[in-house]
């Protein structure tokens, strides 16, 4: 089985999500993680515009204009879902009620700091909920391509403005799984068929590398 870079990332992130927990998936690549989560796990997806128990887009013509995700796209709700206002939505996030947030990244550095909300002078989308999510979720999972147009995104020190000064929990890319620790970035796993040397070449940050680095195991 050959997996696309996005599929590798999404499948590997899915293994980090635990039964019966509340999880926030960012717009874009992280959203696709839900494809690899068995409904029987009872994981509830939160969207910061105010729903606990978001489900996928309804069939054409069945959309409700008052049931949407944080990008304004139509969604449906799982049985047992709840909708909340913005203060409670962020109370869930900041108050430690969210098990994990999965977000994209522009850069992550050796301290495990994430930059993902602005490219000064070029792109000023605003932080939206990202700063609250990275500050408040119990675990912060960064899901991103390892490089951008061939340039490393895992760098010694972020040159873009940080999203938070909190260390992220795990970095999952199409090449590797990396854990930021007190000692630095530890290379935990390789993507299928990827050699350690390729990962090192695609990373400008220093990596701590054990003698044996296992391949990601996707189970089924």
């Amino acid at each position: 089985m050959t997996l696309s870079p996005d599929e590798i990332i999404q499948r590997r992130v899915a293994l980090e999500l635990h039964e019966g927990t509340l999880v926030n998936l960012g717009i874009g690549l992280p959203t696709g993680v839900s494809k690899y989560i068995a409904p029987s796990l009872g994981i509830l997806f939160q969207s910061e515009n105010g729903i606990v128990g978001m489900d996928s887009r309804p069939p054409e013509g069945m959309e409700d204009e008052e049931l949407t995700d944080a990008g304004g796209g139509y969604i449906s709700a799982v049985p047992g879902a709840a909708t909340v206002d913005s203060t409670m939505s962020f109370g869930l996030i900041r108050g430690g009620h969210l098990d994990a947030t999965v977000l994209g990244g522009l850069q992550v550095d050796e301290k495990g700091h994430l930059a993902n909300w602005v490219v000064p002078g070029k792109m000023v989308p605003g932080m939206g909920g990202a700063m609250d999510l990275v500050s408040g979720a119990r675990r912060v999972l960064v899901a991103m391509q390892h490089t951008a147009r061939g340039n490393p995104k895992i760098v010694p020190e972020c040159t873009l403005p940080l999203t938070a000064t909190r260390r992220v929990t795990l970095i999952i890319t199409d090449l590797a799984v990396i854990e930021p620790t007190d000692a630095g970035l530890v290379l935990l796993e390789r993507a299928p068929g990827v050699e350690v040397a390729e990962i090192v070449a695609a990373t400008s940050a220093r990596l701590i590398i054990a003698e044996v680095v296992p391949e990601m195991a996707f189970g089924g």
């Binding site: 962020f90 900041r94 000023v124 989308p125």
Partner: protein, 219 residues
Amino acid sequence: MKKGVTPEEAAAMISDGAVLMIGGFMGVGSPHRTIAALVERGVRNLTIIANDTAKADYGIGKLIRAGAVARLVASHIGLNPETQRAMIDGVIDVELTPQGTLAEQIRAGGYGLGGVLTKTALGTTAAEGKKIIDIDGEPWLYAPPLKADFALIACDRCDHNGNVSYQLTATNFNPVMAMAAQTVICEPREIVPVGVIPPDHVNTPGVLVNYIIRRGAHQ
């Protein structure tokens, strides 16, 4: 019984330079008819406090395109390139605030509190120029309360007394904004007699609502 007004009458109450909170999240749960009337009236120099500016020429994006906005406090403008352009060109003074902090600043304004202490944005460029308060050796970022002259909110149902019930993800910032403004103008999808909305389904009590936008001809 509350006073029903047309969107045009509501727009006429809002003078140039007013501070408005406008409910909605990417246009979902925004008072679209009231916004259109404000654009039609040619209002200028507004300060808008809102989660986002929706899309170009949609929702709050209509006010941006019309040049009605001088200052904007929002958390996300990424899906409206016209707002981003106006920010970069210095046409609109934009203050970007983390979404959860913005919600709590509005709540503090409406609930009579002196502001919010949060960890969000500590140590980032979004904290530059902001107060850091030390409590028992721990740093917290202080965010002041926000208030407005008008809150323009939208809801699913509203009764003749102004009791409001929201639906699904159209709730978002509407209930908290209804607490934080001098004058609250509510644009419901449906207006129902008093008693139709059971007390425990009322999300915003009618005492907070000053004006109800009347139904349109085709509603």
